[in-house]
Each structure stands twice: as C-alpha cells, then as structure tokens.
C-alpha cells in the first residue's frame, strides 16, 4: 500500500476515439467555451502518469481478470448503472492494478452532456464523456493503491446520457452505451497475483471473456459409480464458494489446458491416482486428506488438489471443501447471494417486512432528464404463493417541481412487467411523503425479483428543447432513499410441479435432510459434467449443498424427492410418464425427421382461423373478449371450473434441453428430470441454462432450452399438488385459500353463492323461530 503518494487525479484515460471527428458537428449550437470533447489524455498528462498504456502487448509477468459478469453489458437511457462485486485474493489486492475496458455508444448520445463513470469500492475510479459513437474507445484507469482490498470489491459502471437533438421521452430509448466483456478487465502488475493459495481463493475464480466460469474436475477413475456422489458434493462445494453467475463443470480423466481465465482445475483422486498428473504431490497427501492449491510450474497456474491415501480420505477432503458451505435448511437466509452480478445482495423476504431503499441500494438522487430509472432486487422464498392476490406496497418518498407537467407518471415494473402506475398530476409540483403505491405481486416468483421504478417526466422546457442548455437545467425530480418497500405476510405453500421453486431456491431439494436420490443414465464425462453443473447451480440457488445418493432404478427413490439426469433414449419410461413427457417421442426426439410436419399443420389451422373470423358477431365477441382481457386480465380460461387437461409434453425439435417436473408414482415426492437427445447436448444445454439470466426464467412444469433463439420456453403448470412447507397456521391457510380462489375465480363465486344461499335459508329458519310469528 502506497499511502505517501496522493493521486488527486486518478484517471488515466486512453481514448483512441478522441481523435475521431464528432458524428454531428454541433459546434454552432454550443457555447464556444465548452470544449468539443474532454481530452482525457490532457487530464492524464496533468497528473503526471503515463498517458498511454499499450493494451495489446501482453507483459510476461502481469495478470488480468475479466470483470463483467454478463455476456454483454449495455447501459441504456438517461441514467443507468450496474453494480457487482469481484473477489480478490490478498495477492491481487496488494498488487497495483488498472481497470481497462472499451465501450461504444449510440451515435445520438451528446458527449458534452454525457458521462460514463466507474466506481470501485464506492470511490470514483475514472470518469469521462461518452463519446465513442463510431468505434469503440478503450479506457484504462489506474486504481489508487489501497483502493482494492482482499475479498469482495464493489465495481459500479454508471452512465448519464443525453440526446444530441431530441428532448422527448421516446428519444431516451435511443441512448445506449455498451461495454464488451472481453475488453473489460483488471490488470494486476504482479504476475504472482494469478496464484491461488488457500481454499478461500476459490472465490477468486473469476470470469472468462464471455462472463462465464468453469471448474475442471480431473478425476482418474471418473467412471466408478461409487465416486459420483462425492464428486457431486464437491461440485456443489466449489459452486457455493465461487457464487459466480454462470458456473459450469467439466469432469474428465485427463488434465485440461491450465491457466485459462475464469477457470479452476481441481484434481480429485487418491494420492496414487493423482501423482502421475502433477509434478509434485502436496505434502501429506499420502497420509491424510488434503485439499490445497499447488502451483504448476509450467503454466504458473494453481491447481486444486483434493486427495488422500484412499478414496474415503478423498471424500473427507471433499467434505472439507463442501461442509463449511452448509447451513441449516430450516433457517431462511436473510440475503440471496447475488453479489457477483448484482449488488447489494438481494434480501430474502419470508413474511411481512419493510425494506428501506437505502438498504436496497437505491440512493437519493436528483434528476434533470425525462426518464428516471432506479432498480433493486427482492427475493421471495420457494413456497411463495401470492401471485394471484398479493399486493406489496411501495411507500414512495419523492418530489417533483412545477416544471413537471401533468400527465407525467411513475411506473413500477416487476421482472419487466408493469405492476403499477402513479400519475404525477399536480401543476405546482409536489413532495410525496411515503405515498403508498400498490404493486401487484402477480409477477413475483421464487428467488430474486427485479423491481424497477421509472419516472416519465414531461416538462415545458422539453417542448422547446433549446439546444445547448440541457445539462445546466435544474433538477426536476428527486427520489429519496427513505422510500420503503413494504411486503405483506403472504401465503406460503409449495407446489408440485413448480420449476420456479428450483430456479429460485433449489426447492424442494435444498430442504431435504436425507440424501437426494440422483439417477444418471450413464457415468460418462458429458452426463457427469451436466449433473455436476446442474447440482452446482442448484446448490447456489438453495444456498447450501445437497447430500446426494446415486440410484440406478427410479424405484429406489421411494418417497424421496429425486433428480434424474440423462439422455432421453436411455431413460426409464416411468420417469418420463411421471414428469408428463410424451414417452412415444423418447427415441425420435432429436432425430429431426418430422420437424416440418407439425408446423405445416399449425400454419394451415391458423390460416383457416383467420379466414373464418370474418363474421360480424364473432368479431364483436372477440372484441369484447379482448377488451375484458386488456382491462381486467380476465379470459375465458380464468373462468374454467375443471382444471385444464394436462397434455403430455412432446419436446419440440428445436429444443436441446428439457427440464421437467412431476410427482413420483405414489404422489408424495417431487421428481425432476433434466434431459436432452444426447449426452453431449445435455452437457451443452445444462451449461447454457445455469447462466443466471436463463436460470431465472425457468418456471412451470416443463422448461425447454432453445439454442437457436437462446431462450427458455416455459410450459405453465396446469394442475398441481400442494406441498406443506410451513407449520400449520390459520392465517397462512387463509392466504393460501385467497390465492387459490383468486386463480380459480368460479370457485370463489360458487363458494360465496352457496354460502349466501345457506345463510339466507338459515336466516329464514332463525327468523321464523325468533320474535313474533304468525
């Protein structure tokens, strides 16, 4: 740590784009004293630090870590930011470091009024105008010594963007700045910082240039079935330590190429098995369980060796990695570990709670533009069952000036769906103090939920849109961090099937005290990798590792919640039947011979439907239906009394992976199946869905992954069983009933009507007995 040197101007920026001419010449519209574009090189020059740092030339002894945990990072609108954390080893924290990235922005972004700022641990690490419209600009900011510390470090990218010519709300949608993950990294000057030494350093596994993480498990004797359960346990332990947004596992018997970014290789086996694969066995490997990093002298890469004199010692070593990650299954977490891609960590709300915006990471901010946005995340448990009736309340502290015209509004989005709109109709401005806003919980699902607040502000000056003045204008809107989200007590009961519970919290498996039966059709590398990847993700979602027991027949699962992983053709028919998959397609799926047929028929039917919809009466009726659907979200199907017949699911040809859930044959446990046409596609598909953006889309009774569109396709649950998760309580039953009746409207109507009729009859009988009668 260098305390003596005080670096007043931290930022050292290299921009190649600075020399480019501006896409629009706006000099005529701008006060002459504003420079066309801030030249970061000048700033760098003043601070006396080298202005240029050739990025392409790789110094032999430096080390870089990619930092962006997404496949793409796009900051849009007038204000936008992303915050996440990066785990650094003590060596990395000690090393002097620069933060590098390149970005490109929309051509309509006005550079003189737009800034891109990077914060590290809350301190501004670098800031500059947004001016890379034509080609990507590369930036490099020196990080002040002492800024980084061992452990978790927060990184925040923030933009303030302004349109060059337009002041409408619509124009704000044209504003974007993109940062490519493969260009964004922290460069540590010391090559030593690449080395990992303690087990804790697994957290520093990092990311590759696509925002992904991979654990290579090299296991001699991989195919021995007796070892699989322990390997699955190890995968979960490593996944829980890593906590990265997209972690995949590759199990093999041979050493992979070492030293790749975002990867950790672990050698697992008895000392005897491991010895040939490594230069030097760790001390004590032949006498007792060992789990430690060893440096490969050739590649300088650290390899995690998990070993021991015999397999049981290896198992012990594995528990040494995994056991510390365990936590009691019956105590709810206060936060869901989302920090590696979203900070602050998402709080988990299990019953009524009030969360202040300051805790949720929403800061007090004043805003001069047209479309203000803030976002935060809140998690609900896997047995959340209030999507039909529930309302959360946002107690909003905000203010707006008289510049804001009536017709402006604040919209609340939950997971991208509009949940509420509040008009800002005062002509004189207003201070909203804890204004209650009902936010429907319709779009909440187990696990983290993204809540966005968007203020759309119409203003008189924007109508004129005087050029050159925008940045100077006074704030017209403010959001205060004293605002609160109030979550009510909500109904809690598990449902079977419900893949959203798996995605949100690894339920029901995370709660099982006994070992979870795991069925693998074959113990080959692909299947094992897929299973390890899936279980690793499950453990991260559930926040604790699951105990696994291998089974070879579905019958062995008994009345325990079980997992089935394997290629479709080899799976037992009972499993397919139980999870509701059309077993007649077991062999044909993936052979791609009859793809066209179904589409053709469907197209013909659609065509006939449009041809027949000419009748005026029919139009009126469908018009009315559409109106009711739009206004009140009521469709004919919501008035259904009998549950929809649950058709067997036939996996489409375009899908590469199917995750399906159902009850076991005795209807007292949950079976989940992860399958694909082949083991290879199983592995690829599993790697794809564990990425947090796709993982969070898993829901319904069947979710399939479509590689062509990179999309999760969800088949909703038609009929389900309740699974008790909470101790019996009347208030909970009441809320469960409320939710069930809200989604089965006709039953509520029937119930109320029958009860009213009974009440009428009882009243009549009472009245003939009471008082005078004749």
């Amino acid at each position: 740590m260098i305390r003596g040197i005080l670096l007043a101007a931290l930022l050292t920026v290299t921009t190649q784009a600075a020399a480019q001419p501006a896409p629009f010449d706006m000099s005529g519209e701008r006060p002459a004293d504003v420079p066309l574009r801030q030249r970061p090189a000048e700033a760098g020059g003043k601070s006396g630090l080298p202005a240029e740092r050739p990025i392409a030339a790789k110094l032999p002894d430096d080390f870089k870590r990619f930092i962006i945990p997404f496949s793409a990072l796009s900051l849009t609108g007038e204000v936008d930011e992303r915050t996440w954390s990066v785990y650094l080893t003590p060596a990395q924290a000690q090393s002097s470091a620069t933060l590098n990235f390149s970005y490109q922005n929309a051509i309509v972004v006005a550079p003189e009024a737009s800034t891109l700022s990077v914060f590290v641990n809350g301190e501004l690490a670098g800031e500059g105008p947004v001016g890379a419209a034509e080609t990507a600009a590369q930036l490099s900011y020196d990080l002040k010594p002492g800024l980084l510390h061992a452990g978790t470090n927060d990184i925040r990218f923030r933009v303030r963007q302004r349109h060059r010519t337009d002041c409408t709300v619509e124009s704000t949608y044209e504003l974007w700045t993109e940062i490519a993950p493969d260009t964004a990294f922290i460069r540590f000057s010391s090559g030593e910082s690449a080395s990992l030494s303690s087990l804790d350093d697994v957290r520093a596994v990092g990311l590759d240039e696509r925002g992904r993480t991979q654990f290579n498990l090299v296991v001699p004797g991989l195919q021995q079935p007796s070892r699989t359960a322990a390997l699955m346990r190890l995968a979960q332990g490593l996944a829980l330590r890593g906590q990265m947004p997209a972690q995949q596992f590759a199990l093999s018997e041979t050493m992979p190429e070492l030293g790749k970014p975002g990867q950790i290789t672990a050698l697992v086996g008895t000392a005897e098995e491991v010895a040939p694969l490594i230069e030097r066995l760790p001390d004590g490997a032949s006498s007792g369980p060992v789990a430690m990093f060893v440096r490969d002298s050739k590649t300088k890469a650290s390899v995690l060796v998990i070993s021991g004199p015999d397999w049981s010692a290896v198992q012990e070593a594995i528990e040494g990695v995994t056991q510390p990650m365990d936590r009691p299954s019956n105590v709810p977490r206060d936060v869901i570990g989302t920090g590696r891609w979203l900070l602050p960590e998402t709080p988990l709300v299990v019953s009524n709670a009030r969360l202040r915006f300051s805790e949720l990471g929403v800061e007090t901010s004043e805003f001069t533009g047209r479309r203000f946005r803030a976002r935060f995340s809140v998690a609900v448990p896997s047995d959340f069952y209030a999507d039909a009736y529930g309302d959360a309340t946002l107690l909003l502290d905000a203010a707006y000036t008289e510049a804001v015209l009536p017709g402006s509004h604040i919209d609340i989005y939950v997971n991208g769906n509009i949940a509420s709109t509040i008009p800002l109709n005062s002509v004189t401005g207003d201070i909203l103090r804890h204004l209650p806003i009902n936010v429907t919980m319709r779009h909440f699902k187990p696990g983290p939920n993204l809540i966005e607040i968007e203020a759309v502000l119409l203003a008189e000056p924007d109508k004129a849109c005087a050029p050159g003045t925008p940045a100077a204008s006074d704030p017209r809107f403010a959001l205060f961090d004293t605002s609160e989200l109030r979550m009510p007590d909500f109904a809690r009961i598990g449902r079977r099937p419900n893949l959203a519970a798996i995605s949100g919290a690894g339920a029901p498996y995370r709660n099982d005290a006994a070992a979870v039966p795991l069925f693998l059709d074959r113990a080959d590398e692909d299947t094992l990798s897929a299973a390890a990847t899936f279980l690793g993700r499950l453990a991260v979602a559930g926040g604790r590792p699951i105990l696994v027991e291998m089974i070879t027949s579905p019958l062995a699962a008994g009345s325990r919640n079980a997992l089935f992983v394997g290629a479709m053709p080899q799976l037992p028919k009972t499993v397919l039947t139980q999870v509701g998959i059309d077993s007649t397609r077991q062999m044909s799926w993936g052979n791609a011979t009859d793809t066209g047929q179904r589409d053709e028929t469907q197209r013909a039917i659609d065509e006939w439907r449009t041809r027949l919809s000419g009748g005026a009466w029919r139009n009126q009726l469908t018009g009315f239906q559409t109106w009711v659907k739009q206004e009140f979200d009521i469709s004919l199907s919501s008035l259904r009394i009998m549950p929809e017949a649950q058709a067997e699911f036939a996996p489409p040809e375009s899908a590469s992976l199917v995750l399906a859930q159902g009850a076991n044959p005795t209807d007292d446990a949950t079976w989940t199946l992860l399958t694909a046409p082949t083991a290879k596609r199983l592995r690829e598909g599993t790697s794809a869905i564990v990425d947090v953006t796709r993982w969070q889309q898993l829901a319904g009774r069947v979710s399939v992954y479509e590689p062509a569109t990179d999309n999760i396709d969800v088949t909703p649950v038609a009929g389900f069983d309740f699974v008790q998760t909470q101790p019996p309580s009347l208030t909970n039953y009441r809320l469960i009933l409320a939710n069930w009746l809200s989604s089965n409207i006709m039953f509520y109507a029937l119930l109320l009507i029958v009860l009213s009729v009974l009440l009428g009859l009882v009243t009549s009988s009472m009245l003939t007995r009471l008082g005078r009668r004749q």
Partner: protein, 725 residues
C-alpha cells in the same frame, strides 16, 4: 331446532360468509362475483321470488355490501400523512359506514315483517272503558268539530266511551297572558270550544299552565279520567267508526299489552307530493314506515307510539308515571320507557284514522325538525342500546329508529365530497377505474336492488334519497344544534291546515338554488377538466358522474320548493254512497261521488239543472253508518254543476248548523276506513328499478325547469315590488 340452535347455526354461517368475504382475493375475482351476484339478484327480482328467496336475495346483497366494506376499509383510504386528503376522505368513509350500518339495522328490522294480524274481537259484555284524548293547541273549531264528531261516532257502547278535548290553547296561563291579543284569543277559544263540546257531547278539559307540552296535556287528561284504555288522536286525525272495535280486543288477549298503534293515513299530499304531483300515483312517504317498518318492528315487539291513532293502557302509563316529556317526541320516548318495563306493543296495519299533514314545505320541515331533534334527544338521554329491560332486538330496533335521523350529516358529506376533487383537486378516495367498477358500482347497484326488494311497492327508486336530500339542508343545523345542546329544543306544534292559494317559491327554498348553482358549476368544471386534463379523465368522469347525480337530485328539489297553488282547500276522498238531493222541498235520487272536509260532489238524477243557480241552498239526505237506520239531512249550498244527459253533477259546500251536522260530515268522510285502504293499495305498484329510475330522471328534468321558471318569476315580481315602492 330450538331458538338457541337456530341462532347458533346462523352465527356459524355468518362467520363462514365473513371469512370468505374477507379473503383478499384479487380484482378479477371480485368483478366476476359482482356480475354473477347482481345477475342472480336481478333474476330473483324478475321472477318475484318471495319467502325464503327474499332472504336469500338479501344474503346475496349483503355479501356484495360486505365485500365493499372490506375493500373500502383496507384499500381506499388516503394515506394518513396527507391530511388534506385523509380528513375529508375519512369523513366520507364514516358517512358510508353509517349508511352501511343503517342498512344492516334496517335489514334486521324488516327481514321478515309480520303479516297483517287477524282481527281481534272483544268478548261480549266485556267492553273496557275507553277515554279518547284529542289534544289541541291552536287548531280551529271547524277542524276539531269533525275530529270530535268522528270520535264520538265510533262504534262502541256509549257508556264505555268518553271523548275528551284536551285544550292547551285555552289554558289559564294563556288566558292570563301579558299579551293582550293572545289572552283575548285564548279566552274566546275557551268559550267557543266549550260550547262545541257541549253540543257534541264531548268533555272539554284544559289546565292551568302549559307545562311539558303535549305530554303534560295528556297526563293532565289522565288525572281527570279513569278509563281502562286511552285512545289518542291528534286534533286533525279523525278515526273511522271501527277504530276501537279493531284495536281494543288485543288488550284482552295480552294483559301486558300497553299499545296498539295504527297507521296514519293522510287525506292531503305532503308538499313534495303536491309539488311533484305524485300523490295520486305514488305511495306516500310515510307508507314505507307504516307499511313495512312498523310491521318489522312489530315482529320484535318494538312497534312504537306515534303520538296519535293509538290505544294505550292506563295501567301501563301509570306504571311509567304517564307520558314521558323529556324529549320533544314524547310518543316514541313513552313507548321506549314502557318497553323497558316489560310491556308489549302491537301494530295493526290498517288505516283507521284519516288526517292532514303539513301542506307547505316550511311546515313540513318544521315537523321533521321536531322529529329529528326529538329522536336525537332520545338517543342522547336514553341511549337505547344500553337501556335496561329491553330485549336485544328491541335495542337494535330503537337504535335503528333514532340513528336514522342522523342522515343529514352523511347526506351533506355525499353532497360535497365530489366537490373536493372537482374544485380543489383533492383525492379522497383512492381507487382505479377497474376497482370502482368491480366494487363501488356493484355496491351501488346492489344497494338499490336491496332497497327495491325490501320496500319496492312502498318506496320507488331514488325517492328515499330525494326526501332525505330535501330535509338535509334545514335538518343539518337542527340535528347539530341538538347534538351540541340536547335540552334546547322545545315542542312546536306543526301547522297542518295551511293551504297555498297561489304558486310561489317556498320561503325557505333559497339554499336549494344556491346548491343547484354550485353543483352546476361543478358540472361545467367536470366538462372543462375532461378536455383539458385528458390524463385523468377517468377519475374526473367518475367523480363528475357522482356530482351529476347530486345535481339531478338538487334539480328535482327546485321543483319541490316551488309551491304549486291549489284550488281545493282540502283533498277529496272518493266515496260511492246512495243519497237523496233536495232542493226546494223536492228530493231527487243521487249518489255522493266524493267528499272533502268542506264539501261534496253529488250525481243527481232527473233534476233540472237550469233551476240551480250558484249559492242555492239545498240538502243531502242519507243514512249515516253510525245512526239507527233513519236518513238524516245535511244542509249544503251549491257551488257549481256539470250536466251529462240525465245526470247532473253538483259540487256543493256543507253548511253545518248544529253539532249533529258535524257528525254527518264526519260520517261521510271518515266512516268507512276500507276506502282509505283501497286508495293506498291503488298507489302501491312497484315500477321496478329501471322504469323507476327512468321515471325519476324525467321527473327531475321537468321539476328542474319548473323550479327555474318559478325562480325567474320570483325575481321579476321582487323587482316589480322594488319599483312599486
């Protein structure tokens, strides 16, 4: 099933319904349920299902109302930290909750009104001695003569019947008044009435001081009489001949019975009926009370004394130290006291008296102010809910009767609530358009349907609202003043014999024009805001619609306070009675077509119309019901005539000369109570919600224009007067 069992079963099912109603289901569910239940109720109404179905329909309605209450309570109140919204919002909420409470109380009262009772008979030879009290304060002798004659003519053994005129207008206090004119007038009255009573065979009684108003007067009557039963008639309420035969028998059946109350039937329209011209075709306002509510109260042994047209037991009154006089509605207060001491009351649903009601809007309001203030006094002094000795149903019944008179307060709030939004942009009711549709609209519809279900043929849609609105303006200060100073109000006698000679605006009609103007401005603002603030047009339209409803009511009231002139001094009653018409010693066969307190219309056969100039004196000869079968003669003078072939219709005016002539007039008008029942049932038709509403809209439109025309005319005359002076 025992009583306890049936109550337990009811409580259980009520709890189930409440449990289901308080489930926080979503808006969609509420919408579907509302649509279904409203449809169900409409079907039940259309097929006119009665009996059990009536209670089932009411249970449906209750379910929707309770859903509304649950939602209104949990989701619509403005946040507490916006006081400018919260305070008016909470007041509105309280007003609505008051309405819901009154709805539930009246549901309880009229859930199963008693069907008409079987006539009771008096055991031969066991006729109890009856004193008939006719308290009077300032009524003129002619009016009293009719009432006293009718009372005297009641079918009852003459030795068991004593009629008393209890004159409070000729007391010693009045005769000795420091005001000379008043003293003279009282003395003259004293003499005149004494003579009249002597003529009619009626006892005249007055007292020294006018203490405790009507109650004191009646108590004075009790001191001087000894009959087992006491019948009370207001000075303008003349009984039918069968009054005592229909009522006295019940006292023999139940020794703990203290009261038999009968309905008040009015021969003349109240000012609303007269000015809106609904007297002939629409049930009167009081018919809801006497036709349904008293029957409902009767079920719970809570029918109360209405000051007149009732028979009471002396022993019971003595048990409670006579008529209570703490409040200015001594009648209800007395009944409450006696119910509290374990005495019973019954109600006989058959009009057995005919009377007059206030003719002008001002005296109508005066009468209602007295009722409202008196009931408030009972509420404050005798709080019925906690009064000992009453059964639980009786407590609820009396609460319902007294709390009803708080209506001016919520009515005022409903009137001004939309203006908070339209004028000041305050949001005192937080709800979206969809919620409004699913909850509020359903609630309002169901409310109207329940009213129609309960009172359908006794009260047409919107009429309750109209009457309450009409009274609110002047009753609000009256009610508030009594709440602030409960012992302040004193008894004032309502004038009922006024008549309106020419069309004019009521002297207390101004505020209605001001209200109308304000609401009209609000309507203009609604339109303006819908166009200038399209982003909140939905809210503006909903609130503006509410204001429009108020405006329609206010417009209709402009017609109410525009008093129509009337030619006939009193209302005619249709009779069809054989008689002979005599002129110049010549008798012709004739039929009496209709009669009023002052004259009659007679169809005469075979008379030469040319020989009948106006003011010719003649006579009607007919057989009185009360007589011994010998025809008697009543002198008349001819006022007008119409000729139709052999028949000449003659309008004539009575010229009573001796007391017997008053008895004959009473016999003509009051003898036959069946004709009153027929008249009432002719008006009792249920137009239904839709037709009733359309009719009301039309009425309101017409009355608005009439009110505005009267207003302009009054401006012109006042200007002319100014110029004249």
């Amino acid at each position: 099933m025992s009583k306890v069992g049936s109550v337990a079963a009811w409580a259980f099912f009520s709890l189930c319904v409440i449990a289901v109603i308080t489930l926080p289901v979503n808006l969609q569910t509420q919408l579907i349920v509302s649509v279904l239940i409203v449809t169900f109720m409409a079907v039940l109404k259309l097929v006119n299902a009665g009996g059990r179905w009536r209670l089932i329909a009411l249970a449906f309605g209750t379910a929707v109302v309770l859903r509304y209450v649950y939602w209104r309570t949990t989701s619509t109140l403005p946040p507490l930290n916006q006081l400018e919204n919260f305070i008016p919002g909470f007041l509105l909420y309280l007003a609505e909750m008051y309405s819901v409470m009154m709805l539930s109380l009246s549901l309880f009262v009229v859930a199963m009104p008693l069907p008409p009772r079987k006539a009771s008979s008096i055991s031969p030879g066991k006729f109890p001695k009856v004193d008939v009290f006719v308290p009077s304060y300032n009524e003129d002798a002619g009016l009293l003569a009719n009432t006293l004659a009718a009372a005297k003519a009641m079918d009852y053994p003459a030795d068991k019947l004593t009629v008393w005129l209890l004159d409070d207008g000729g007391t010693q206090q009045k005769r000795m008044s420091a005001n000379l004119i008043e003293a003279q007038r009282a003395s003259a009255r004293h003499v005149e009435l004494q003579a009249l009573c002597d003529d009619l065979g009626v006892r005249y009684l007055t007292r020294e001081r006018n203490e405790h108003a009507k109650a004191g007067n009646l108590n004075n009557g009790m001191l001087h009489s000894d009959g087992e039963l006491i019948a009370v008639f207001d000075a303008d309420h003349a009984p039918a001949r069968d009054f005592l035969l229909e009522t006295v028998g019940y006292f023999e059946q139940d020794p703990k019975l203290f009261l038999v109350q009968t309905p008040h039937f009015f021969l003349n329209p109240d000012p609303l009926e007269r000015n809106l011209r609904t007297f002939e075709k629409m049930p009167s306002e009081n018919e809801m009370f006497y036709g349904i509510i008293q029957r409902g109260l009767d079920k719970w042994n809570a029918a109360f004394f209405c000051g007149s047209a009732a028979v009471l037991r002396r022993k019971a009154l003595e048990d409670a130290d006579g008529f209570s006089g703490m409040s200015i509605t001594e009648d209800c207060e007395t009944a409450l006291a006696l119910h509290g001491r374990g005495w019973n009351s019954i109600y006989v649903d058959r009009p057995l008296i005919a009377g007059l009601q206030p003719a002008t809007f001002a005296s109508f309001i005066g009468q209602r102010s007295r009722w409202a203030q008196g009931m408030m006094q009972i509420l404050l002094f005798r709080f019925p809910l906690f009064k000992g000795g009453l059964s639980i149903p009786q407590r609820l019944c009396y609460m319902s009767s007294t709390l009803f008179w708080l209506f001016p307060i919520p009515r005022t709030i409903f009137l001004f609530a939309p203006l908070f939004y339209l004028f000041f942009d305050l949001e005192i009711f937080t709800a979206s358009g969809g919620e409004f549709l699913a909850y509020t609209l359903a609630y309002m519809l169901v409310n109207l349907m329940m009213q129609n279900y309960l009172y359908g043929s006794f009260r047409w849609p919107w009429i309750s609202e109209l009457y309450e609105f009409a009274q609110t303006v002047h009753l609000l200060p009256a009610v508030i003043s009594v709440l602030l100073r409960p012992s302040r109000p004193t008894f004032k006698v309502t004038a009922k014999d006024e008549s309106i000679q020419e069309s004019r605006l009521s002297e207390i009609g101004r505020p209605f024009f001001v209200i109308f103007a304000v609401l009209f401005v609000a309507l203009l603002i609604t339109v303006y805001r819908v166009y200038t603030e399209p982003y909140k047009a939905d809210v503006t339209l909903v609130v503006g619609g509410w204001n429009l409803l108020n405006l329609i009511m206010a417009g209709c009231l402009l017609g109410v306070v525009s008093e129509r002139g009337e030619r006939a001094a009193s209302r005619r009653v249709k009779v069809s009675r054989r008689c002979e018409f005599g002129v110049a010693e010549q008798w012709y066969p004739a039929t009496i077509e209709d009669v009023s307190a002052h004259g009659a219309r007679v169809q005469v056969y075979g008379i030469d119309p040319t020989a009948l100039p106006t003011d010719t004196e003649g006579a009607i000869r007919f057989e009185p019901y009360s007589g011994s079968g010998i025809p008697e003669t009543l002198p008349v003078s001819i006022r007008n005539k119409e000729v139709a072939g052999d028949i000449t219709v003659i309008g004539c005016r009575y010229l009573p000369q001796v007391a017997r002539h008053h008895s004959l007039v009473a016999d003509l008008i009051f003898a036959n109570s069946r004709q009153w029942s027929e008249f009432q049932s002719a008006r009792r038709g249920n137009p239904g919600l839709l037709r009733g509403t359309l009719w009301f809209l039309w009425l309101a439109l017409y009355q608005t224009s009439r009110g505005l025309i009267y207003f302009l005319r009054s401006l012109r005359t006042s200007e002319a007067q100014k110029e004249g002076t």
